[in-house]
Amino acid sequence: MENKLTIALPKGKLFQPTVDLLSNCGMNTQELSDKARTLVFEDVQNKVQFIVCRPTDIPIYVEHGAADLGIVGKDSIIEAGKNLYELLDLKFGQCSFVLAAPRKQLSSEGEYPWKQGLRIATKFPTLAKDYLQKKGLQAEIIKLHGNVELAPRVGLAELIVDLVSTGKTLLENDLVPLEEIVHASARLIVNRASYRLKAERINKLLFEIKVNLKNEPKQD
């Protein structure tokens, strides 16, 4: 199909709101599921193909043009550092990157005593490095693949940089957020070439999504 639009959708917690949004924009999303083994779905009538993949891989699919568009959290975009265009804030999937420390490390005024040789455990080394550089702080970054909150408890790191949506995990592990680094939410991203070559279709979808976001009551 010459004028087919390929959209990459994230598995996990952003999946359902993404599907709801697309279905509100008139796409046939009935077959879509992130549990099924099939990862490619067609909406023949609208000439759209959906691919379902890991959120962290979506910027890669879009950068190389395997997908024209993608819907993914800002967190994945920052960490991937890819060359693509970010068109729209979709407002759902709100969360924050925070720097957090164990409560018992704080002074009685609630200040964190910065010192040399600190270690920060995180799943997001690029973001953590940029943050440290911007603040002029020095620390060693330890890349982990999950359950970062464990690191301070077992002495792997003094601090963590992690993504927080409700703050429950931090609380349960007796960690206190020191600073919000970036606020993140779901974004619509597009491939550089597709943005030009499929401009008409992409702008039409963009317009529909914008109308939809306006109509929807503010959610959090």
Binding site: Y85, E86, A193, L197, A199
Partner: protein
Amino acid sequence: MCLLNGNGNNCKIPAGMRDWLPPEAGEKRALINSLLKNIALWGYQELSTPLLEYYQVLSKGEATSGPDNLYKLIERDGSILALRPEMTIPIARIIGCKMPGNPPWRLMYGEEVFRYELVQAGRQRGFSQVGVELIGEKGPEADSEVLAMAISSLKCIGLDKFTVSLGHMGVLNGLLDSLSWEKPLLDELRNLILEKDFVGLHQLLDSAGLDDYQKVGMLDLLTQPLSATDLKELISRFSGEIQAALLEISNVIEVLDIYGLSKYIQVDLSTLRSQDYYTGMVFEIYTAGIGYPIGGGGRYDNLLCQFGHDYPATGFALGIERLLLSLPQKSGQMKPILLVGDITKDIERPELINKANSLRTEGKPIILELKQLTKEQAEKLAIEIEADLLFWQGRKENGE
């Protein structure tokens, strides 16, 4: 025969570099040649410059902020050298100090360039560019010549589905001037537009306290693709630098219309190039299936004064590797012919060598096997080396 896991370190090449084996190496050269041949039809002459230049010279073209993307090494006297990351600066240097004749100069090149970029999947650090510089001419006539040449070169190598997105530095500069902001904030704005981070752009404009009217006007200008009529309407809405820039774009499109090439143009005012030296119209060329631009260029009127001459200039460069990826059929090389003498006929060597030479003068690629073979041996060898077989049994038997 080489084993795949043969010699460990001896088999490695640096990250971002690649080897060119047959037939790709031949396809690449054929592509470069046919592009240059087409550009030569516009009266452009080829030039070539050294791979290595002084860092001081090359860094004039690099973005002033952030680390540069140059491969550097040290000369014996301690000065810093670098591999050229593009051809515009070396050509500007030549114009500045040793170019004979008078402007305008129409120059073209097909050369390898090197960029020490972060290793990302699919991003090469060494690649080839075919490009042109038209130096000493200004105005929409020169800009449209360069654009028409870029488009027609792509068409002549068989690419048809591509889009040229055309913008103008004057629009951005005019917008930036209209804001009385501090430099870091302006740099951030410029970056957000370059990366097309429209969400970040929104947030920045919000936090900078622009009123809604200004904000919407600016976002519309930068984020909406424009048709010819939109452009006309926009020209009347603006004044000063922005209006002048929009007028220039419209004049360039007018000339391209006469060439019959304006259908390839898409006006997109957020088109920016990462080099700092562009001053006027800028463009990027996109084709289906390749996530990056396959080429781009624009007007750079202030670069040459850094090399002592105040000439206006405009040009483009095409990325050869990306073009190779996007071309459906490649101009393949001719299959070689294996010439072997029949062992049973006892053919003399001079006869075989003469035969091979006369075939080569006819333009046929000949691999000559001076050892005489039986028919079966010859056929087997031809299959092994992927050649057609000419089994020579003497003039008579071969019907000459």
